[in-house]
Amino acid sequence: MWLKVIRFLIDLYEYFLLILLIILSFVILSKNNSPQVRILQGEIADVFAFIHYPGVWIDNLSNLMHENQELKEENLRLALLNAQLKESYIENQRLREMLSFADTSHLTILPAEVINQGTTPLYNSIMINVGSKHAITPNMAVITNKGIVGKTVSVGDNNTLVQIFLDVNFRLGVKFQISREYGIMSWQPNGLAEVREIAKTAVIYPGEKVLTSGYSEIYPPNIMVGEVIDVRQSANNLFQIATVRPSVNINSIEEVFVVLKK
């Protein structure tokens, strides 16, 4: 009898193995938010980071000439802008002193290169080439000169995974620059973002800039997020929904900045 049971179980070992692996996958899935798993993910990403370097090298090579020309133009433009900004800064300082305002723009940032934009069909994180050795920790804001990119999630010694704003689970507190309304922005399947539950009485303008609200421990205030392209009533007619085009094109970013200290 027992022999038959054992033989029966041995015959089905492939199926038991399948059940075991499925359970194991679910256990790992359920532990996704635990710091230990994040650390482990960071460590493994660190080990496998070498896989991304040939791609980065080829990309860099093909972009070098084009980038050089662009940088020359950018350099000239920045030189002109710099002169203007110096004037503005002096004027700004003078006005601040007059109004007794403290200088609040003390962002400490660290530049980083994007070394990969995803291996799976889903497209919601990037890897950058700085890590805990560069004082990176989870939940630091990642930005470019054009605006918000995302936040750090898993940190290895030399590489860090960044959850980008196109992630389905990404939420960001934002404000509208002109109307001064606040809301929570989330990803939409068409590559745009939406700010929902805006008061019906608020007047939001298409073309209006959307900035970070500052009510976050991660994101500094007044960082560009995007631009309103459409405002519509919600289905129940109680709120407005603003569609936002992100200012950063994730497909083309090569360098980012990690905000070390707000």
């Binding site: 492939e14 193995l17 399948l18 692996l21 499925i22 194991l24 996958s25 679910f26 256990v27 790992i28 899935l29 532990k31 996704n32 798993v37 482990l40 993910q41 960071g42 493994i44 990403a45 496998f48 896989i51 991304h52 040939p54 791609g55 080829i58 990969n116 934009q117 995803g118 291996t119 799976t120 069909p121 889903l122 497209y123 919601n124 994180s125 990037i126 890897m127 999630v153 898993s154 995974l161 389905v168 689970n169 399947p189 590559g191 497909n251």
Partner: protein
């Protein structure tokens, strides 16, 4: 031992291809999954046990690279894909070719259904939208590569 080394070598090459070509081949957030193709090749040629163990292992590596979704999600989907492909082991000549192809497509559908169902859990998207905008395009895109590659390199040593 030789077989194991061959599988590791194929895996590394496929990860490289996925990393290098994946971003270039992305169309509306959809890209072909070459690792799924490899899992299916190994499942069909080596059987259920190797297929599911390999699917779990390579899925974990992809998840650990963290470049897509939750840790464990690819492992889950690819374990089931590897097992499903293993069910077709040594059945190529015994099954009706149309039925065999249908099973292959079904495995790819199940793989993506798992991936998108879990990844879009809690997102305000109808099942119809997820099916039409994500699952079916991804199945078509990966399936296309699967059949083209299979035409030139049929699964080995069945």
């Amino acid at each position: 031992m030789r077989k194991l080394l061959l599988i590791i070598a194929f895996s590394l090459v496929t990860i490289f291809i996925q990393v290098l070509l994946g971003p270039w081949m992305t169309i509306r957030e959809i890209r072909p999954d070459f690792l799924l193709i490899l899992v299916m090749f190994i499942g069909i040629s080596q059987g259920k046990v190797t297929g599911q163990l390999y699917g779990f292992g390579i899925g974990l590596v992809v998840d650990a690279l963290g470049l897509g979704s939750f840790l464990g999600l690819s492992a889950l989907a690819k374990t089931i894909a590897g097992f499903g492909a293993g069910l077709l082991h040594k059945r190529r000549n015994r099954l009706n070719p149309l039925l065999f192809r249908t099973f292959e497509i079904l495995i790819i559908v199940i793989h993506y259904a798992i991936i998108y169902a879990i990844n879009f859990k809690g997102v305000d998207l109808s099942s119809r939208v997820v099916l039409l905008n994500y699952i079916l395009p991804a199945v078509f895109y990966t399936g296309l590569f699967y059949f083209v590659i299979q035409y030139f390199i049929p699964p080995l040593s069945e």
